[in-house]
């Protein structure tokens, strides 16, 4: 696998480094890592390889499985349905992720500042939606969005107004954004909050002695200190946006006119596979999305970690 030959243990200088890994039997570590890697190979590496294989072939009525090279990729790049789906999740990403992470960050800073009444109640309450499965969250919001017996309908009746229908084609993406925000604000808040807790308190005392105000402490100490957490949360949110599937697929039942079978790339891949039996093309769409996601996540990580770190 690799060509590095570790030094025999006897030749290793006995430095008293606390976190130095043990050098014993060369293969002892594999005994611990092996089981994970074996299952990992089965459920991660094998499907990726199989996807790549599928994307290079096509089922034909005559002659069965035929090698078509990059034909499927060419088709995808010229496919308006794929690009409209991709545009939709990109828009979603550009609007929903900053809003969600912004709220999460503000709440984390507020709770960490120690200036609230009822800190622990807020922390657990805002985190609670993370315990709710996406299916339940979507059904619940979907019912509330309803103009018949949902809250929207109630408000219309009570106030004699007519609010726009959240499940109409124009608004459904924003409504999905609201569901995702509701689900994950608390989770991201907890990531930021945990990172804030390990900032040494002595820094704040020093800042106070230097006469820094609250705002200055936030911008000069707290935000740089939790850079890593911000980057991780951003990457996870980007991956999540590109993978958007659960919420639109469940809302489809309630808003069949607003959510098409190619509403998001994943919904498109799913429909291609399970209603269209186009496995080869579906695998191609999945691979393209996977590559785009990886590239963007990688770029975010590089930029986030480099800036004046």
């Amino acid at each position: 696998m690799t060509q590095t030959v570790p030094l025999p243990a006897a030749a290793a200088p006995a430095r008293a480094a606390r976190r130095r890994p043990v050098r014993r039997g060369r293969w002892t570590g594999w005994g611990f890592v092996g089981p994970f890697m074996a299952v990992f190979a089965l459920v991660f590496l094998a499907p990726i390889a199989y996807s790549l294989y599928l994307s290079l072939f096509r089922q034909q009525l005559v002659g069965g499985n035929a090698f078509v090279g990059l034909e499927n990729y060419r088709r995808a790049f010229a496919d308006p349905q794929f690009w409209s789906a991709f545009g939709r999740v990109s828009l979603f990403l550009a609007v929903q992720v900053p809003i969600m992470l912004g709220i999460a960050l503000l709440v984390a800073l507020a709770i960490d500042s120690g200036r609230l009444y009822g800190t622990s109640f807020f922390r657990i309450s805002i985190f609670l939606p993370y315990a709710v499965p996406a299916v339940v969250a979507t059904l619940m919001w979907g019912f509330m969005y309803g103009t018949r017996f949902g809250l929207v309908g109630n408000l219309n009746d009570a106030l004699g107004i007519s609010l726009p229908n959240p499940l109409s084609p124009d608004l459904v993406l924003a409504s999905i954004g609201n569901i995702v925000t509701w689900e994950f604000v608390g989770y991201n808040m907890l990531i930021f909050y945990s990172a804030l807790r390990v900032v040494p308190r002595s820094l704040y005392e020093a800042a106070e002695i230097d006469g820094a105000g609250q705002w200055r402490v936030v911008t000069a100490i707290k935000l740089p200190a939790i850079r890593g957490a911000l980057v991780i949360a951003t990457i996870f949110s980007i991956i999540g946006s590109f993978q958007l599937f659960n919420e639109p697929s469940i809302l489809q039942k309630l808003a069949p006119n607003a959510i098409t079978t190619h509403f998001t790339p994943n919904l498109y891949a799913y429909s291609l596979s399970f209603s269209g039996q186009q496995y080869n093309y579906s695998a191609t769409v999945a691979i393209i999305m996977g590559v785009i996601t990886m590239v963007i996540a990688y770029v975010v990580q590089l930029r986030g970690m480099r800036k004046g770190a």
């Binding site: 594999w30 611990f32 994970f36 599928l54 509701w182 991956i239 496995y279």
Partner: protein
């Protein structure tokens, strides 16, 4: 780590004015005891309200009959309390299929999350405390895999499993749940901090084998990290939807999430009976165990997440 009782610093003085002589500091508020802010509290309370109102809606509407759902105001109770009847109906509808789904979910959580935690603990410990050929490759591959969208893998995994004859069996849900790259990463960072290498060396000098060293010396040290990973994998498997949706055709193997969605979709099918009151009550029953677990175990989430944060 975080939610422990505030440590009383030697310099902590009662910050009450007008009692006894003031000592040194003229200010009543310090870094440790900042002034409470009403405005901040109100703003945070708004976010809190946003988080809790939908859950309140769900609870309130679980007390209504199918008819009352359509006629009464959503954020208040209707005249008749229908909750007990709803719960009974949910548990008995269609020969008690809901109870079967609950049992399936428990099976998937125990086998999937338990197995995932075991693999992540072993793997994280191995990565943190050993050098072995190919270690860097393992690291690169696993980190790269985290960025691969799970749904991109779902279709090929389904096709692979159907060739192996695994689809429509519990294995199709359990096996993919066994891998948690995030869990491995958390465990790795945790083990690197929590287990001093000298301790391992001492155990070896005393003649303990690898397995014994791990089981008797390292596992107790890793306990807080293990609980955190277990919580994450539990939530992930309990809330899993996409994987069982594509892998399972037989309603007898559905977990709760897929089952609830099937109930909801029933109203849209021709000749299907609308059972929205059961969907809502079933939703409450589905989130109840997790909410209870959260309230009891929140301490661990805190400390576990912090251990995974960036520490230079």
């Amino acid at each position: 780590m975080t939610t422990t009782a505030p440590a009383t610093t030697p310099a902590a003085r009662p910050a009450r004015p007008g009692r006894g002589p003031r000592l040194r500091t003229p200010r009543r508020h310090s870094v440790d005891r900042p002034r409470r802010s009403g405005l901040l509290t109100v703003l945070t309370a708004l976010v809190c309200l946003y988080s809790l109102v939908p859950l309140a809606w769900l609870l309130i509407n679980a007390t209504k009959s199918q008819g009352d759902l359509f006629t009464s105001f959503g954020l208040w109770f209707s005249g008749s309390l229908h909750l007990v009847q709803n719960v009974a109906d949910t548990l008995t509808y269609d020969d008690g299929i809901f109870v079967r789904w609950l049992a399936n979910t428990l099976l998937y959580v125990v086998a999937g999350a338990g197995g995932a935690t075991l693999l992540a603990v072993l793997g994280g410990y191995g990565l943190a405390k050993f050098t072995f050929p190919g270690k860097r490759a393992v690291f690169a591959v696993v980190i790269g895999a985290v960025a691969v969208p799970g749904t991109a893998l779902a279709v090929p995994t389904f096709l692979m499993f159907s060739r192996m004859g695994l689809t429509n069996t519990p294995w199709a849900v359990i096996i993919p749940s066994l891998i948690s790259p995030f869990g491995l990463y958390l465990m790795w960072t945790f083990a690197a901090e929590a287990i001093p290498t000298e301790l391992l060396e001492a155990a070896r000098v005393d003649g303990a084998g690898e397995a014994r060293t791990f089981a008797q010396i390292c596992l107790p040290l890793l306990a807080p990290g293990i609980v955190t990973v277990l919580l994450f994998t539990m939530v992930a498997t309990w809330n899993n939807y996409f994987l069982p949706l594509i892998m399972l055709k037989d309603p007898d193997w559905y977990p709760l999430t897929v089952g609830l969605n099937a109930w909801n979709a029933q109203a849209a099918t021709a000749g299907g009976e609308a059972i929205f009151n059961l969907v809502i009550t079933g939703s409450v029953l589905t989130i109840l165990p997790l909410v209870v677990a959260f309230l009891f175990l929140q301490r661990y989430w805190q400390s576990g997440l912090a251990s995974g944060s960036v520490k230079e």
